[in-house]
């Protein structure tokens, strides 16, 4: 659907956002947001992983490649990792990925990194809604490449 929309004419278009979340904090937080009936944009597809350090940068690249317009990566706050140090390692990798994506011309607002704890249903709602809104503003990701999968 994203292909049919002219850039700048986004009102008919709604972004696809993929969220990679950790099993222990963010997923539980997202669950809390759901059971608390917090109103969230329906654009986000959640993929649950054991830990934020399980998020291989390739997951994010692949998500964009296969049609995502925005990505959320989220896990436990530092110090709270179920595996003690996973998110400290993840943080270093995300830092470099964050910089590199910008250097390669991916708008910073397309990728949200967030720590969301199991009790932060409200924060998850915020992350979802704000990310969706920002990506909505930016428009489809690389629309020219989505049509036929690339060069002939």
């Amino acid at each position: 659907m994203s292909d049919e929309v002219e850039p700048g004419n986004h009102h008919a278009w709604s972004p696809n956002v993929v969220a990679f979340v950790c099993n222990w904090c963010t997923y539980t937080g997202a669950d809390l947001a759901g059971t608390s009936r917090l109103k969230m944009d329906p654009n986000v597809r959640v993929i649950k992983l054991p830990c934020s350090s399980r998020v291989n940068p390739l997951f994010i690249i692949k998500a964009f490649e296969r049609g995502a317009d925005g990505v959320i990566v989220s896990g436990c706050h530092t110090g709270d990792c179920h595996y003690s140090t996973g998110n400290y390692h993840a943080r270093r990798r995300f830092a470099i990925l964050h910089d590199l994506l910008q250097f390669m011309g991916v708008e910073e607002d397309r990728v949200t990194f967030a720590w969301v704890s199991a009790s932060e249903g409200n924060k998850w709602q915020q992350v979802v809604n704000e990310t969706t809104a920002r990506v909505q503003q930016l428009g489809p990701f690389a629309p020219s490449e989505k049509q036929n999968g690339g060069v002939q």
Binding site: L58, E65, T78, I96, G105, A114, A142
Partner: protein, 290 residues
């Protein structure tokens, strides 16, 4: 006979090593030499045309080089960082290699030109070099030449790119990477690419499509440069090997800058200094995380 030739001859004749990997005068400029007899040691040279990172030949994937036996390798300070990297990552043992480190005053960006080092001709990676006198060595050779001139070409290119808008940068990289034919020459020439099976060759699942498409090319180069974060020694072998002349050095340098800024780490020729990815500090910067 130069100090280098003399040392090599001695190492070979005393049987300390079976092969000295160095530089020699080839049919078209300088090329790598694999000296196995003491009498051939006088072939060895070292000058500003010795651009290639010979540490690559210590990479455990080079089985046929390993078969020659214990090796001594001629390195510049920058190349010594690759040797350190391989020791750090347990690919080679420090005791199994003799490091002939050359004091270096910079090399040419394009060794075919064989000209004086100027701000135009010197390699973009030589500016501000901190390892002109390598610290990782068994033999430290040569006189210390003066500091090389600074070629600001790459720094300026990166700065110019960062001044662009996101979409302009996107267009720039899309154009550059559209030329990538996915031959993976960048990987094969890289001293720090030693994975037994590269992600790009894994097919179950196929993370990175093997065809040259904009998405797959971008995924490949992004993955590669990320995997090199904090490991890349900026020897520019990838860029030199690329048959499509893609400015891979820009990506490498940008990531190295980012690593330096965030983790206060520059590629080190000390194998005991841990690489920045794999360790952490609890107070690492997280301004980008909400």
């Amino acid at each position: 006979m130069s100090e280098l030739q003399e040392t090599a001859r001695k190492l070979l004749s005393e049987g300390t090593v079976s092969v000295v990997i160095g530089y020699e005068e080839g049919p078209r400029g300088v090329r790598p030499a694999f000296i196995t007899a003491p009498a051939q040691a006088d072939k060895l040279i070292f000058d500003t045309r010795c651009v290639q990172n010979l540490a690559t030949y210590l990479n455990p994937r080079r089985k046929q080089v390993a078969q020659l036996g214990r090796a001594a390798v001629v390195v510049k300070g920058c190349d010594a960082r690759a040797v350190a990297g391989m020791i750090r990552e347990k690919q080679i043992e420090r005791g199994n290699v003799v490091i002939l480190a050359m004091r270096c005053g910079g090399v040419l960006q394009n060794p075919e030109t064989n000209s004086e080092l100027t701000t135009q001709t010197v390699s973009v990676r030589c500016g501000g070099c901190t390892v002109r006198e390598p610290k990782l060595f068994d033999h430290l050779l040569g006189e210390l030449p003066p500091e090389p001139p600074v070629n600001t070409h790459r720094v300026e290119q990166i700065a110019a790119l960062m001044k662009m808008s996101s979409s302009e940068r996107w267009t720039f990289w899309t154009e550059q990477l559209s030329r990538c034919i996915r031959c993976h020459a960048c990987r094969e020439a890289c001293p720090m690419c030693f994975c037994v099976k590269c992600t790009a060759e894994k097919s179950q699942p196929q993370w990175i499509d093997s065809s040259s498409t904009p998405q797959a090319n971008r995924a490949w180069q992004t993955m590669r440069v990320l995997h090199q974060a904090g490991r890349c020694v900026d020897c520019l072998e990838c860029e030199r090997a690329c048959p499509e002349h893609i400015p891979l050095g820009l990506l490498a340098r940008y990531v190295a800058d980012s690593v330096e800024r965030r983790f206060e780490y520059t590629a080190s020729d000390d194998p005991t200094v841990p690489a920045p990815i794999g360790v952490y500090r609890t107070d690492d910067d997280e301004e980008f995380i909400r």
